[in-house]
């Protein structure tokens, strides 16, 4: 029969399901990534060298024998995309009208219900991250090579990023923790849902506190290093015990100084390739 | 004036009303339903224990069939019922339950193999057969010889009402919620619909229909303490009574349930005793076997209630700030059973008493529970005095319960009567009699009369307080028209109620004509008093004891003089209802009057009983097939709609 398609009843619209999955998946990946991220960043607590090692690791240094900072850029770009997707999907849930906002506030105050309150926390923290997180993300994307004990510490302290990071720390940990808990109750198949939820809630708060403490300690460590390193701001970290590909290249290091992100030649494999810094 | 037309106006959104509407709809008519509350909140929702139907699936139900169910029902009624109707009922109940099973009620099912049960205080092991696995199971209930009460945990009424309501929604039948029928529109011969008040806006409208069905439930709330919902105020009975032509039947037949909790009268189901619970007194003694050695705690409800009252009179009650009570003990059933099969009971104990029934005894006492009486109809559900007026469910005196209803027979009645009366309503509508011929002038007249009535209440200076009058009425009914009755008390009850009725015209109200609870009470009060008066008068006149109607001054069941049905009619302008009586014909009974087997035999026989018994015995001795015997003794199939005449299949009785 040649009835035009448009006269047929619409097939089921699969997109709401996909978007829901996407929102959860993006949240899940972001949430788990943020925890791992925290663990990586906190390597500073084990010493400068540990942190340096982790940073270089992600540049593929230990695979290729030389760092590929664009790997980090690419990864950050991916996270950025995920972040944007997640934020865009989450926007659908925001109270967009004043009436909705008021209804929610009134309800929240009357109910005094933890999970209802926590969702509002998620909205607030999510909203704030909307503005704050891109700053960090962009920096990392643009200057992946400037991730290192001194480099990061300088950024934190001399670059005055610490207030932003302090706020982001709380935003991310609260938001991510609540988000992952929510994911579990949203999709989870538990034998005893009530008991499971109680345990999840405890776990969630435990992890949030853990990561907040870890995050604060880490930030403090960077601040401390940053303060100590302030006179040499811009000077990059040079791992002493490391056999570097070209010590000659490195002798230039630290000559710039002054700016937040002084033009620094990153690691170079045999001088064959240089990545330009910001100038 | 707003006029709304439909083919069938169903007043009442409980099980009975909604099932009637479905039947009519399926016959191609346009029904509409009125309800005081959202239909799913009707009191049918509160039925806990179960629905009787002789499926004979479970081990203790094996051998059950319509005959046994019929006989239990007639005995339960103390021979006061219409046996043909009881027959129709017993025959259709299995069909009703199977239909509900198909529609979605999650009846509990037989689990093949061994399981534990508590019978007569003893743990026993029962073995269910393999081929019954997954079929609808049943529990024990009072006054039945087989386990016949099918259930969904202890939320049977809920499961049934939700399923039937969902079908009503599926079949797009309009339910006008929060709409109250105030008066029937009629011309003295033919009912044309009702004047309806919107309980939100207060607006009156005329609902006109070919057939009008009263399915408004019981009138328990004229007693102070009742297991009934607060909306069961007998407004359906009042609607019929106020026509001045339609009659109410057996209004004095009122059941008191043995186990309602203190102080609020919330019911805990008979399923508690059916599943093995027992009654205990102040000493923890299980007293029912002392009175009823055979049926013990599972004697018929009227009997257990009276025995409890007797026992309390003998000083064995437990004293409490809310009066005396006895204990219901279900601890031996175990927490697992209670969690699974008596969940509502557990909730009620937890929320209203703060106790755990798996560990503690439940304080109970007999409490008003069920109205056997109601709008008198023929077997088709139609009033014999007002054509086009039908009634079914607890509101009706179709009369399968006589003077005492068996537990589980009521929700069964609602759906069975719904199915049958629905067909007859459709037959009526599709016949010449069902033609609608009403002038809107008549409708206007009725609406205006009600409007004036309401305006008069609002304008009243208010010498009387409605709450006080109502409390007094409730007290009178509880004290003088309760479980035990006697002449002097009933006489004073009638006199006092009549006086209250006169005073109720003086009630004044603040506020307006719209959503105003004060106004609602003011206009319902005189109607309730009228219903109360028909109950009290019926009880006063009936100088015998039968079923739930117990006269201390006339303890014998007197078949010779009282094997009849009370009919009450209230002519306009009269101060009291007029009573007359409809004889029950012993010579046409399949089960002639006999001894129910409780207490000492105290019966004054009807002269026809012996000859009829001889006929019946002879027939039974012939050892014919049970269907043949039955049809010879009292044929009834021809009364049923064609579609419901077929035999019921059972595991042991395959269809021919």
């Amino acid at each position: 029969m040649n009835i035009p398609d448009s006269f047929l009843p619409p097939r089921i619209d699969r997109w709401p399901a996909r978007l829901d999955l996407l929102q959860s998946a993006s949240g899940l990946i972001l949430g788990l990534f943020m925890w791992l991220h925290m663990l990586f960043v906190s390597s500073i607590l084990l010493g400068n060298h540990a942190m340096w090692t982790v940073a270089r690791f992600f540049e593929g240094y230990f695979f290729f024998g030389y760092p590929l900072p664009w790997l980090v850029s690419a990864f950050v770009a991916l996270i950025f995309a995920l972040f944007a997707t997640h934020a865009w999907l989450a926007l659908r849930k925001f109270p967009t009208h004043w009436r909705q906002h008021m209804a929610y506030m009134r309800h929240m105050r009357a109910m005094r219900h933890e999970d209802t309150f926590l969702w509002f926390v998620q909205v607030l923290t999510g909203f704030a991250m909307f503005f704050l997180a891109p700053v960090h993300l962009y920096l990392m994307m643009a200057h992946p090579e400037l991730i290192g004990p001194y480099e990061s510490a300088d950024r934190v302290w001399s670059g005055r990023m610490w207030p932003l990071y302090l706020v982001l720390l709380f935003l991310v940990e609260l938001h991510g923790g609540v988000g992952l808990y929510r994911l579990a109750v949203k999709w989870g198949d538990f034998k005893d849902a009530i008991a499971a939820r109680r345990k999840l809630k405890r776990l969630k708060w435990g992890l949030t506190v853990f990561f907040l403490v870890l995050g604060l300690a880490t930030l403090a460590a960077y601040v401390k290093i940053g303060m100590e390193h302030a006179p040499h701001v811009g000077e990059r970290y040079q791992p002493a015990a490391f056999l570097l590909p070209s010590s000659k290249d490195f002798s230039d290091a630290g000559s710039g100084g002054g700016g937040l992100n002084p033009p620094q030649p990153p690691f170079d494999k045999g001088g064959s390739r240089r990545v330009e810094g910001m100038s | 004036m707003k006029i709304i037309h439909s083919d069938v106006l169903v007043i009442g959104g409980g099980l009975a009303g909604q099932r009637v509407a479905l039947a009519a709809k399926r016959r191609g008519l346009e029904p509409s339903i009125l309800s005081l509350v959202p239909a799913k909140r009707s009191h049918s929702v509160a039925a806990q224990g179960g629905m009787q139907a002789s499926l004979a699936n479970c081990f203790k139900g094996e051998g059950d069939n319509e005959d046994v169910h019929f006989e239990d029902t007639v005995r339960g009624s103390d021979w006061g019922c219409d046996q043909r109707v009881a027959r129709m009922f017993a025959h259709v109940a299995p069909k009703a339950i199977r239909e509900l099973a198909a529609w979605g009620v999650a009846w509990n099912r037989v689990r093949a193999g061994e399981h534990e049960a508590v019978i007569n205080g003893q743990r026993v092991t029962l073995t269910e057969r393999e081929d019954a696995h997954g079929l609808i199971t049943a529990r024990d209930f009072g006054g039945t010889r087989k386990w016949r009460t099918c259930y969904t945990s202890d939320g049977t009424g809920h499961a049934m009402l939700y399923t039937v309501s969902d079908r009503v929604i599926a079949e797009a039948i309009p339910v006008h919620e929060r709409q109250e029928a105030l008066a029937l529109i009629h011309d003295g011969h033919r009912c044309h619909g009702a004047v309806v008040r919107d309980l939100i806006t207060g607006e009156l409208s005329a609902h006109l229909a070919r057939a009008t069905v009263i399915a408004t439930g019981g009138y328990g709330r004229i007693w102070g303490i009742s297991t009934n919902a607060l909306i069961n105020e007998g407004m359906g009975a009042a609607l019929a009574l106020e026509t001045g032509v339609a009659r109410l039947g057996n209004m004095e037949a009122v059941q008191f349930h043995p186990t309602a909790i203190l102080p609020t009268g919330i019911l805990v189901t008979e399923g508690c005793r059916g599943d093995g619970g027992v009654l205990r007194d102040v000493d923890g003694h299980r007293f029912m076997p002392d009175y009823e050695p055979e049926k013990k705690d599972l004697a018929s409800r009227d009997v257990v209630s009276r025995r409890m009252a007797e026992h309390m009179r003998a000083g064995k009650g437990v004293k409490s700030p809310y009066g005396e009570h006895l204990w219901l003990d279900i601890t031996q059933l175990g927490a697992a059973h209670i969690d699974r099969n008596l969940r509502e009971v557990k909730d009620i104990c937890r929320y209203f008493l703060g106790i755990d029934p798996a560990k503690d005894f439940i304080p109970v006492r007999p409490t008003q529970h069920y109205s056997m009486g109601g709008v008198r109809t023929d077997y088709r559900g139609e009033s014999q005095w007002l054509s086009g007026l039908f009634s079914c469910g607890e509101a009706a005196c179709w009369d399968m319960h006589g003077f005492n209803r068996l537990g589980g027979n009521s929700v069964a009645e609602t759906v069975v009567a719904g199915m049958l009366v629905g067909e007859y309503v459709a037959d009526f509508c599709q016949s010449r009699h069902g033609d609608q011929e009403i002038s809107t002038a008549l409708a206007r007249e009725f609406v205006q009369r009600e409007q004036r009535g309401l305006e008069k209440i609002i304008a009243n200076p208010g010498h009387e307080n409605a709450v006080d009058l109502r409390r007094r009425m409730e007290q009178i009914m509880t004290d003088k028209v309760g479980l035990f009755r006697n002449g002097p008390d009933l006489e004073s009850a009638v006199a006092e109620l009549a006086e209250l009725l006169a005073r109720s015209g003086e009630v004044g109200v603040n506020g307006g004509l719209d959503a105003n609870p004060e106004l609602v009470l003011a206009y319902r009060l005189p109607r309730m008093l009228k219903v109360a008066l028909t109950v009290a008068m019926g009880a006063l006149n009936r100088t015998e004891s039968r079923g739930a109607h117990f006269r201390e001054d006339y303890p014998a069941r007197n078949d010779r003089d009282w094997l009849n049905r009370t009919l009450a009619c209230w002519r306009e302008g009269d101060a009291l209802p007029r009573l007359d009586y409809e004889e029950l014909d012993v010579l046409r009974m399949e089960l002639p009057p006999g001894f129910r087997g409780y207490g000492a035999k105290n019966i004054i026989d009807h002269p026809d009983t012996a000859p009829r018994q001889a006929e019946v015995d002879e027939m039974r001795a012939a050892k014919l097939d049970r269907y043949a015997v039955q049809s010879y003794l009292m044929s009834f199939k021809h009364l049923l709609p064609l579609k419901y005449r077929g035999r019921n299949e059972r595991l042991d009785e395959p269809l021919p």
Binding site: M111 | P38, A102, N510, E518, G646, R650
Partner: protein, 241 residues
């Protein structure tokens, strides 16, 4: 027993059809008695102080779902709430999310009927059965599981406890999702997941739920709403793959 308290009630009073009337709160004092429920207290208030006060009680035994209201801010069934479990000052408000009739009375029935119609919340039968024949067998555990979900009393507490529903009036609420979970579990309903998806596969349905779980925490029947919603979400999400 402790000395009896005098309870102070703050009760919402408003009749939306009364053109001049402003919503307000009235205060009443009631002597507490042993075993007093909010049903008893409100009845006393109506009988002794304010005969025009509107509220809905039907079964007064916690089974019909009529009397849900906000009790000190939380939705609950008033009839089975003992005053002894509440502080001396009790605030009572009508359930949000539903049309106000007057005072504490809201039109849950209308909402529920609309929800049922929209979700086609009834068993969709393949064909009518012959009621003379033995019923189709059903696994006993399955029957119990279906009843478990069937215990919803449509009181509206879950809707009033749901931030999503209050922000988005077209949201079906836990009551709706639980109903479809019930019918999906029921072998007598012959709908496929694609058909359920048509009914709730969007943001006013299952994907609109933000898992705030107010529903789970206030449901008077303690239904496993969290589990049912997650279950439906998984089933419906599979349709998107």
């Amino acid at each position: 027993m402790t000395a009896s308290r005098t309870l102070t009630f703050h009760v919402f009073r408003h009749n939306p059809r009364d053109s001049g009337g402003e919503p307000g709160v009235r205060e009443y004092q009631v002597e507490e008695t042993p075993g007093m429920t909010l049903f008893i207290a409100l009845t006393r208030i109506r009988e002794e102080h304010d005969p025009g006060l509107s509220f809905d009680f039907v079964c007064r035994a916690g089974v019909c779902g009529s009397c849900a209201m906000l009790i000190n801010g939380r939705p609950g069934l008033a009839c089975r709430t003992l005053t002894s479990e509440l502080p001396g000052t009790i605030s009572l408000f009508p359930l949000p999310g539903f049309e106000l009739i007057a005072d504490l009375s809201v039109n849950t029935g209308k909402w529920m009927r609309a929800m049922s119609e929209r979700l086609q919340a009834w068993v969709h039968l393949g064909s009518e059965v012959n009621p003379n024949q033995i019923e189709a067998a059903m696994d006993p555990d399955l029957a119990e599981a279906v009843y478990e979900l069937d215990r919803c009393i449509e009181c509206g507490c879950c809707v009033a406890a749901c931030g999503t529903a209050l922000m988005r009036p077209d949201f079906v609420g836990a009551v709706g999702m639980n109903k479809l979970a019930r019918f999906r579990l029921d072998p007598r309903d012959d709908r496929s997941d694609a058909e359920y998806y048509q009914l709730i596969g969007d943001d006013s349905g299952i994907f609109g739920c933000m898992s705030l779980l107010g529903c789970q925490d206030v449901c008077p029947k303690e239904l496993s709403l969290q589990t049912q919603i997650a279950f439906m979400r998984r089933a419906m999400a599979r349709q998107g793959l």
